[in-house]
């Protein structure tokens, strides 16, 4: 059920995040070796609730989630 980390997918995620959060610091990695993890620090998160922050990350990755390529990620956000 768990597929090997796909470098192509990681690259696509990084592209999407760069587009949505141009000045952010972020890192996409494979966490425990099986599941993708996004850590992102962005000024866009200021004054936003955690739910809103996570929704913004999901929105940036929306096409990858909708296509089923990406279905489980851990997200860790912080505001600058």
């Amino acid at each position: 059920m768990c597929q090997a980390i796909n470098q192509e997918l990681v690259n696509q995620m990084e592209e999407r995040l760069k587009t949505s959060f141009p000045d952010a610091n972020f890192e996409v990695d494979d966490g425990d070796g099986m599941h993708l993890q996004v850590k992102i620090t962005a000024k866009e998160f200021a004054d936003k609730s955690l739910i809103e922050q996570h929704k913004m990350v999901y929105a940036a990755l929306n096409d990858l989630i909708a296509s089923g390529e990406l279905h489980s990620i851990n997200i860790k956000t912080s505001a600058v």
Binding site: H35, H54, Y58, N62, A66, S67, G68, H71, S72, K76
Partner: protein, 115 residues
């Protein structure tokens, strides 16, 4: 509608789905839409959620969306949140397991569940 290449059947959220979701989150103080059941979570994230609640001895109820495709879609429309599990405390959506973990680490979860 966006033009994503979503191959899943699109289900329109009906007032029945909405009512069912609303009554579940109203009737249970802590409620999760999850893969599997509270006793037997069926994915890593739902298991992680259970571990957090178990560690804090916070009881919760859950709805197994693997057995109800319509609610599985409807809950995502309801909250605007694309992944599972989805956790509610006293009728309020709090997010997924990453947020649950952060709330636990900050001590906020214990307060939210206590009152």
């Amino acid at each position: 509608m966006n033009d994503s290449k979503d191959s899943e059947v699109k289900i329109t959220i009906t007032s029945d789905h909405k009512k069912k979701i609303e009554s579940l989150i109203k009737e249970h103080k802590i409620f999760a839409f999850m893969k599997g059941t509270p006793d037997m979570p069926a994915c890593r994230f739902s298991a992680q959620m259970k571990d957090i609640f178990d560690e804090l001895k916070i009881p919760f109820q859950g709805y197994n969306i693997l057995e109800d495709f319509e609610i599985r879609q409807a809950i995502k429309d309801f909250t605007g949140w694309p992944t599972l599990p989805q956790i509610f405390i006293k009728g309020n959506f709090i997010g997924g397991v990453d947020i649950l973990q952060e709330l636990k680490d900050s001590g906020e979860l214990q307060k939210m569940a206590a009152l």
